[in-house]
Symmetry: D2
Subunit: 87 residues, 4 copies
């Protein structure tokens, strides 16, 4: 992962932690459950967006490097990641 992507992912994750802290405050203030759930859905989508950036970095570096050096273990890992992503 290049330094720019890494910095961007770290910034997003820190933001998501703040979002979750906000969700906790909503619950403490007895917000309507449906509004709370919509926020936790938004948090999960934000995590998925960070995952896309991580995956992209992984593909362009480790996977390309693996294939170029004849290691197809990276491909089995990708299928596993795909299957795990939404289990």
């Amino acid at each position: 992962m290049d330094a720019d992507t890494r910095g961007e992912v770290l910034k997003r994750l820190a933001y998501i932690e703040g979002h979750l802290a906000g969700v906790r405050r909503m619950i403490e203030q007895d917000s309507y459950c449906v509004d709370v759930l919509k926020q936790t859905y938004a948090v999960r989508r934000a995590i998925e967006k960070a995952e896309s950036m991580l995956l992209s970095g992984h593909l362009h570096h480790c996977v390309v490097g693996g294939i170029e050096s004849g290691d197809d273990g990276v491909l089995y890992e990708l299928v596993e990641l795909y299957e795990l992503a939404n289990k």
Copy 2:
């Protein structure tokens, strides 16, 4: 939502924030992307578990109350929640 469930959900969300902070440290320490992604998947699953608890509280309180008072708006909201949950 009863006080016990609320306390349990708050505890889980605080734990998840700590988990995300741990993921940021993994990235700062240049951990393997696949290991990082497996952790963000685990974070999302933990959020989904908290959502189940929130939904259960919502059903047993707001939805039952809504139906008993003849308000079927809560049912349309549930379909919307179901559709939003994984978009």
Copy 3:
């Protein structure tokens, strides 16, 4: 489920079977894997749309009926459905 909704869901499911048969033809004709995958994703989204209609019918009939007769088993089932929906 009322007769209109049932008719609509049945029509959609028959259409989806045709869509899947089309995906099989794509594979037999050696279409590009990425194009095939985009079609199977579309099939899954179409099934989810039919599920929304089924869930809506279920909520407005069985769940309302269950709550009115004091049976909260329908609520536990809803949480289970929500958890199963994307496992």
Copy 4:
């Protein structure tokens, strides 16, 4: 995709069409909505399993070939596929 994988995917898709036809019969016979939904979930999981096989074939053939010939368009496609998979 090699011939064996292709044959296996085609067999699975044909089986899934039969499964969907069975779901239609359940609805025509007025089965309990929750039971119907559990079957449509099973259908979607079966489609996801076929997708894993398609993805694996794609990775081992097109992606490896693309990288070896210096075409990184296949990597951008993979990120797009990952993002589309559960939208």
